[in-house]
């Protein structure tokens, strides 16, 4: 690991660019996917159009996209913008589907109750529908983020800087440690971001775990606060995992296996 101690500022810098290239597309992709998915959810003809259309995006090989985009966008071949745009498309490919699922999973009775209570459409969307769609949405977001982190590396092949540069450079110069550092840094980044999103989801869905605590005590009795909250940790992680597994299987079906 001598290599690392001599080059750690490069690794640090590359990690930064890598992060930028993977996170910006997730944010932009989310902002585009949510309105698209909301329009598609429950719609007879928009739904298949958007869901199939976005899935088709995922079938375009990433390397092709990295090469073709500069021609369309008029950017430099090695510009970060190419990667960011390409990965935004992939995020949309994953998120439109999972956001449609998320909106369709929201209990219609609750939406109707909100309307009957006097909610106007926009406030109902942000105050009721979106928060209730978060659990399924977060699962899709985690898949998109992790898949982005792996795909950013591909850009290194055509000279776009990222942690992938450590693979291409290490391979060319036969420095094993550089390749290993590249792999480890990518994995750490993926795990950290995934856990961060899990945490965000955890905070946004406190209400869900509350339900699972008392689902076992159907009667009118109430349970003491302390024990209830502590035991909440178990069932919660299970649902989270269920959701992410669901989203992951959707993603893998659509991508037809490995990507990048």
């Amino acid at each position: 690991m001598n290599w690392l101690s001599n080059n750690w500022s490069t690794v640090f810098e590359l990690t930064g660019t890598h992060l930028l290239q993977s996170v910006i597309p997730v944010v932009v992709g989310l902002l585009i996917s949510v309105p698209l998915a909301r329009l598609a959810a429950g719609s007879k003809w928009l739904r298949p159009l958007f869901v199939t259309g976005s899935s088709l995006l995922y079938t375009i090989p990433s390397l092709t996209l990295f090469v073709v985009l500069p021609l369309i966008l008029g950017t430099q071949m090695t510009s970060l913008i190419n990667v960011i745009v390409a990965l935004t498309l992939y995020v949309i490919a994953i998120l439109v589907r999972s956001c449609v699922d998320a909106f369709e999973a929201v209990d219609k009775d609750i939406l109707q109750a909100a309307t009957a209570m006097g909610y106007k459409p926009v406030r109902r969307f942000f105050g009721v529908e979106l928060p209730l769609a978060v659990p399924v949405m977060i699962a899709g977001l985690r898949v998109a983020t992790v898949s982005n982190i792996s795909m950013v590396s591909v850009g290194a092949v055509i000279g776009i800087q990222s942690l992938g540069t450590l693979f291409t450079d290490g391979l060319r110069r036969s420095i094993m440690s550089e390749i290993v550092v590249g792999i480890i840094a990518t994995v750490i980044l993926a795990v950290v971001l995934d856990q961060l999103l899990r945490l965000v989801g955890h905070v946004l869905t406190k209400w869900r775990r509350a339900g699972q605590v008392s689902s076992g005590n159907g009667g009118r009795e109430r349970r003491g606060d302390g024990t209830g909250k502590r035991s909440a940790a178990g069932p919660e992680s299970e649902t989270q995992d269920e959701d992410s597994q669901r989203a992951r299987s959707i993603a893998s079906v659509e991508s037809g296996g490995a990507k990048a």
């Binding site: 009775d109 609750i110 109707q112 209570m117 006097g118 209730l132 339900g211 605590v213 009118r220 209830g228």
Partner: protein, 427 residues
């Protein structure tokens, strides 16, 4: 309680008896694009401050009619007016915030705490969060929930508690009109009865105009000042008081829908004095026999109101232990009533020819109890559910008052019937 009393005062001022019309349907129809008629030329007037129940089989248009009131459904033709104003002229969101709405599965927002759920409409109306929450906590008490539940999420509550929160939420903005769409049909029967009783209590204090939808005719009869029976195809079959409905159903459909035991159930509306007789009891703790006498002698009718105080003391004090052991068999025809140390009836024990009670295993428990002021239906049911054929009468606190005799209950029923036909024959 404070919150409700304050509301109460406000609505009292508006409340001028039940003669004013709060809601008027005029020639209202709803036909869906596929040709289904959900509501067919509905004409209906609902008086201010009444609890009106829409009842009927599924697909009869009762819920559709209800939802026309807050414009969740728009009529195909005809007009719906609230306090003289066509609802179509009021912006939907504003209209909806002006009436409380309670639905079947409570419809609570799962991601909001109980207090925030109750605060929904005030918050939509721009009331500050702290003020809306404080009001919500006060309302919790008035629907029979503990304030400690305020910070729970709906999923942490039982079905009955959720419905109570639903009612509190509907009341939060202090609306003059409450719409209730099968609010109690998803909770178990015992809780449902509690909720029904509490709703009636609440209505006694609040005098709102409540429109209540149910498919359960018994619920309709228990709750309604007036009941609108809908038939399939969205036609109003009968609109009457519960008593009229039971005694004189408009047609075969209504009679059929009301169902069996109609005559028996109509006794719910009959209240008449029936004599309470002394009874000999066996104390389950001490094994002693004694005689419970309501204090008015065996022949005088014992009535709810005036007599209660005096008889109450008597029930506890007048137990001539062992003095009249011999009379047991004669007075209760082969049965002796077992009571606990507080004189609350436990059940009947068979007594053999020599006056010895059977072992405790043969105790017959669980008969209906009659309290002063209860209907003749309860009295008759109490007599029928008792193995000795005598209805057990208790005081408010559950202690034994005496017994009612089956033949005397039947006579009271007969007298009530005669009185009614007398009233009809009078010019």
């Amino acid at each position: 309680m404070i919150a409700l009393d304050r509301m109460n005062a406000r609505h009292r001022r508006d409340f001028k008896g039940m003669t004013e019309t709060a809601i008027r349907y005029s020639g209202v129809s709803k036909v869906y694009p596929n040709g289904t008629t959900a509501v067919d030329h509905l004409d209906l007037e609902i008086p201010t401050g009444s609890l009106t129940v829409f009842v009927g089989p599924s697909g009869c248009g009762k819920t559709t009619s209800l939802r026309m009131l807050n414009r969740m459904v728009e009529p195909t033709s005809g007009t719906v007016e609230i306090n003289g104003r066509n609802v179509a002229d009021v912006p939907a969101a504003q209209l909806r915030r002006s009436m409380g709405y309670v639905m079947q599965q409570s419809g609570l927002m799962p991601h909001r705490t109980v207090e925030d759920n109750i605060a929904t409409v005030p918050r939509l109306n721009g009331v500050s969060k702290s003020k809306a929450r404080a009001n919500a906590r006060e309302l919790l008490g008035s629907v029979g929930l503990d304030e400690s539940l305020a910070t729970r999420y709906p999923a942490q509550l039982s079905g009955g508690q959720q419905q109570r929160v639903g009612v509190a939420r509907a009341l939060a903005a202090d609306p003059p009109i409450l719409l209730m769409d099968e609010p109690f049909s998803a909770v178990d029967p015992v809780v449902r009865q509690d909720l029904q009783r509490e709703l009636l209590d609440l209505q006694k204090r609040l005098h709102r105009t409540i429109v209540f939808v149910t498919h359960d005719i018994d619920e309709a009869i228990t709750l309604g000042n007036r009941v609108a029976v809908f038939a399939r195809g969205g036609k109003l079959a009968q609109y009457a008081t519960p008593e009229e409905l039971l005694r004189a159903p408009a047609d075969d459909f209504v009679a059929d829908f009301i169902g069996r035991d109609r005559g028996f159930r109509s006794l719910t509306f009959d209240r008449a004095p029936v004599a309470v007789h002394p009874v000999t009891v066996l104390n389950a703790e001490t094994g002693q026999r004694s005689r419970i006498d309501s204090g008015h002698g065996s022949s005088a009718p014992w009535q709810a109101d005036g007599a209660e105080g005096g008889s109450h003391d008597a029930a506890h004090g007048d137990t001539h232990a062992g003095a009249r052991n011999g009379a047991i068999a004669a007075s209760s025809d082969g049965w002796v009533l077992l009571v606990n140390e507080r004189n609350a009836p436990l059940g009947w024990l068979p007594v053999d020819g020599a006056g010895n009670p059977a072992p405790r295993e043969e105790l017959r428990v669980g008969g209906t109890l009659w309290r002063a002021g209860d209907s003749l239906r309860t009295a008759l049911d109490a007599a029928l559910s008792s193995p000795s054929g005598q209805a057990v009468a208790v005081h408010e606190d559950g202690s034994l008052a005496g017994i009612l005799r089956g033949d005397e209950i039947m006579r009271a029923i007969e007298e009530q019937r005669n009185e009614r036909s007398d009233r009809r024959e009078r010019p």
